[in-house]
Amino acid sequence: MGLGYFIACAGIAVWATRRTRTAGDFFVAGRGIGIVTMAVASMASVLSAIAFIGGPGLMYRQGLGAVYLILSAGITSSLTAWVLARRLRLLGEIRGAVTIPEAVGIRYRSHGARRLAGLAMVIATVGYVATNFLALGLVVDALFEVGRPAAILIGAAVVVAYSVSGGMLAGVYTDLFQGSLMAIASILVFATAVSSGGGIAVMSTEILAADPGWFGPWGHFSPLAALSFFFVLGVGALGQPHLLHKFYMLRDPRQLRWYPMLMTVGLVVALLLWVGVGLATKTAVVTGAIAPLRNPDDATATFLLRYAPHWLAGLVFAGVAAAIMSTVNAFLNLAAAALTRDLPPRASAGAGSLRSARWATLAVAVVALGLAMVPGQVVVLLGVFGWGLFASTFVPALAFGLVWPGATRVGALASMAVGIVLTLGLESLMWAGKASLPAGVTAAGIALLAALVTFFGVSWTTRAQAPGDLDADVRLIMER
C-alpha cells in the first residue's frame, strides 16, 4: 500500500509537471483550480503528522485538553473567509499578487514591509520543512525499513521531485489525492476506535471511573492552558500562509462562498482520528486491554496494530505520509516564492521566472534536508518557530491591515518586527532553559498579543500617515 501511494503521487506529479509552463502555474497553479480541489488541498496542507501521530498521543496523555488544539476548527475557516478570502483573491485579480508578503507590500505601499514579511516566511518555512522531513523519515522507515537517514532521503526525494518540477500545480493535485486519503483513513479509524471501545458511552464510563480528570473540561491541562490554545490557534489561523496562499489559486471567485463549508467539514472529518484513537487507546489502557504506553506518540501505532486490519493500518501510514508531504510541498513553494519574488531588492509583481522558482525550491529543500540530517535537537527548535512566527507576523499586518484602513506602514513594520523578535527570542530562551513561562502562557501567545498591541498602538499614534499608506484601489478592494 505504501508503494502504491508513492507511485500514485509520482503519477500525479508527472501529469502536473507537463502542465507547468509559467511561474504563475508554479506558484498559484495558474489560478485555475476548482473549489473542491482548493478546499481539500487546504485541509491536507494544514494537517501534518500531528493530526495522525502527535494529536492522538497528546489526547491519550492529556485527555480532553488536547482537543483545544483543534476545537476552533469549526470557526477558523469561516473567519478566514470573512476577513481575507475575497480581499486576497481581489488583490490577485486586480494587482496580480501571487505571494502573501506581496499582499503585505501592496497594502502598505512598502517594499520594506514585503521584504520583512518574506524574511519571516523563509525563516519559518525552512524550520517547518526540516521537521517534516524528519517525520517523513520516520514514516518511510516504518513502511520500508531502510534505516532513518536513507528514509529521510527517500521521502524528501519524492516530495522535492514533484515540488521542484510541478510546483503548486503538482502540489494541489497531489494534495487532493492525499487529503482524500487522509479523510477516508480518519473515518475508518474513528469507526474502528468507537467500535473497539464498545461505544462512546461505555468508553466515557470506563474512563470517568478510572481517571475523571482526563475527561474533565480541560483534561489534564489547566483552564488557562486549554483556553490559550483555543485563543492562539483560533486567531493565529488568520496568519497561516499555506492556507491564505490558496485564495489566489481559485478559478472562479464566486465559488469562494463554499470554501468554509467544504474546508470545515474536511477538517472535522480528518480530525476524527485524533479524537477516536486518543479515546480508544485510553479506554484500552484503563480497562487493562493494553499496557500503559511508555511514549504517548505510540498511541496510533499501538491502536492500529491491536484493533485495525493490516490494510487499514497501511492506509493510515500512507495517510501520515500524505499529511507530511502535502505540508512540505506547500511550504517549499511558499519559501521559493518569498526567495524569488519578495526578498530581492527590486521585488515586483512580475519578478521571478519558472526556472528561478525551481532552483529556489531546490535550494530551500537542500537547506532543510541539511538541517534535518544534523544530529541533535536544533531542528526541533526550528520547527516550533513556524506556526507562532506566521501568526505574529501575518495576523496583525495582513489580516487586520486588510480590514482596517487606519493601519499604517510603521504600525505594520513594528508589529512584524516585534512578532519575529519575540517568537525567535522567547522560543530560543525557553529551548535553552534560560527562561520559563507559567503553565498555559505560550511564547506564541505572547508574541501574537504583543504584535497585535504594537500594530494597533503604533498605527494609532501614526494615524496621520494612514491615508498615504493606502492606495485608493486597494482601499476599494478592502471595502469588498
Partner: protein
Amino acid sequence: MGSGLAAQVVAYLIAMTVGPETPLVAWLTVAGIAGTLAGTLLLGATRHGRLSRTAAVAATLLLLIPLVGFGAVLLMGPDRIDGLVLGLPARAAVVLLGVGLLPVLIFPLAYAIDARDAPLDAEALAALRAECAQVMPRGDR
C-alpha cells in the same frame, strides 16, 4: 475586538505575576476569546461600512458560543457517571458539541448566505476593475 484583546493581555499579565491558577485568569481568557473572535468577524464582514444581517447574527453567535459554552463549563460541578449527555460527560459534551461542533453547523452556512448576497461574479469584478483602474497608481496599471 479591543476589549477582547485587552482581556487576553490582562489574563496573561495576571498569570505571569500572580499565578496561572487564579480563577479570574480563565474568565478573562474566555472574554478575550469571545471578544477577539467576534470583533474580528465584525471587521472582516463589514463592506462599504455596512454589516449584513447574516454577518451581524454570526458575530453575535461567535460572541455568545464561547462565552456561554466555556462560562457554563467553568460554573458546572464535577461530572457524574450517571449524568452522561449523548454518551459524554456533561462538561465534555458542552465543550465538544457546543463549542466545537455547533459552529460547524452555523458559520460556514452563514458565510455562504452572506457571500451569496454580495457575489464576486464577472459583472462585479468588471465593475471593480473599472473603478480601480481610475484610481490605481500609474506604475501598477
